[in-house]
Symmetry: C2
Subunit: 182 residues, 2 copies
Amino acid sequence: MRADAKANHDHLLVVAGTVITEHGVDASMRDIARRAGVGLATLLRHFPTRESLLEAMLRTSFDELTTKAAEVETTSPPADALLAWLRDFVACTTNYRGVVTSMVNAIEDPESALHDSCVTMRAAGTRLLTRAQAAGAARTDIDGADLFALAASLAWLGDQPALEPRVERLFGVVMGAVLVKG
Amino acid sequence: MRADAKANHDHLLVVAGTVITEHGVDASMRDIARRAGVGLATLLRHFPTRESLLEAMLRTSFDELTTKAAEVETTSPPADALLAWLRDFVACTTNYRGVVTSMVNAIEDPESALHDSCVTMRAAGTRLLTRAQAAGAARTDIDGADLFALAASLAWLGDQPALEPRVERLFGVVMGAVLVKG
DNA sequence: ACCTGAACACCGTTCAAGT
DNA sequence: ACCTGAACACCGTTCAAGT
C-alpha cells in the first residue's frame, strides 16, 4: 500500500469510529468520507461495504476480547470468568449503537466481513460456558449459541436510550438464570 | 372524511401491513404508496410520520392485547396469566420486524404516535407482574419497566433470522428468572 | 497506484397546482 | 376536501477521467 493510501486508510478508521459512536452503525458513509476530507469513492474503495468498515474498526476490540477470554479462563473461577467476559462483550458492542444487530446478521452469512469475528466471539463465549457447565456452575440445557443470543439481546438493550439504565440489573437477572445457584 | 379519502385510508393500512410484514418497519414509504396505487404525498397526508402509520396499523392488535390482559387476569393463576400474555406480546410485535425497536424509542417520547400504545402495553404487563408478585409467584426486585425491557429484548431476538429459532427456549430461560419457583 | 467528480436510482419532505 | 407531480436535499453504487 502506498504511503498516502495508508494514511487515508488509518485516518478513515479514526473518523469512522467518531462518527459511528455519534450516529450509530447506520451513519452516512458520505458523512464519514466528508469528515475525513476524502471523496466518498475513496472510502468505498478502502472499505467496499459498511460491514468491512465495521470489521476493521472493531478488530482491535475483538482481538482484546479473545485474549481476555483465554486469560480469565485460567485466572478466574468458571462462573466469575463467564460473567466478567460477557460483561466486557456487552460493554464493547454497546460502544457503537446498532453494531450488535450487524453482528447477529453476519453470523450465518459467511460472505459478510463481520462473519469471522462473530464466530470467534461465539466460540470464546462457548468455551467459558462449557467450562462453567463442567464445573456444575451453569445450567446444561443451553449451548453457546443460546448464550450468544442472550448476550446480544442484552447488548441491544444497551443500545436503546430508554432501556439502557436497566441493562446492568437485567444483566444480573438473565445471567442469574444461566448460572446454577451454588 | 370524504368517502374516497376513507377508502384510501383503509386501503393504505392493508397495503402497509403487507409491505411491512415483507420488508420490516423501515420499508419504503414510496413503495407502500406505489403498491396502494396513490401518490406518495397522499400517504403522507393520511399518516404524516412513519410512526403514525405504524400506530394505525397496530392499533387493533394492541387493543386485543389490552383486552386479553384483563381477561387472563381474572381467568388464570398469576404466573400462567403473566406468561401467556407476554408470549402473546412477543408474538404480536414479532409479526412486524423492527417494530419493537420503534416502540421502545417511543416510550419516552410523548410526541411519538406510538407513545400511548407503548405506555398502555407496559401498564398491562405491570398489572400482571404486580399480581404475580403479590401471590409470591414472581420475584419482587424488578418492576414493570424491567419486564417491558425483557419482553422487548425477546421480541428483538425474534426479529433476527439467525436467532429466531431459539426465542421459544430463551423465553423460558428468561421468564424462569422472573418467576419464583414454587 | 490511487483518488475523485459526476451520473444514477433511490429515499422522505414540502408545496404549488389541479379536480 | 382531497389528490398529485415536481423540486429538493439526501443516500449508496458505479465508473470514466485525472494525477
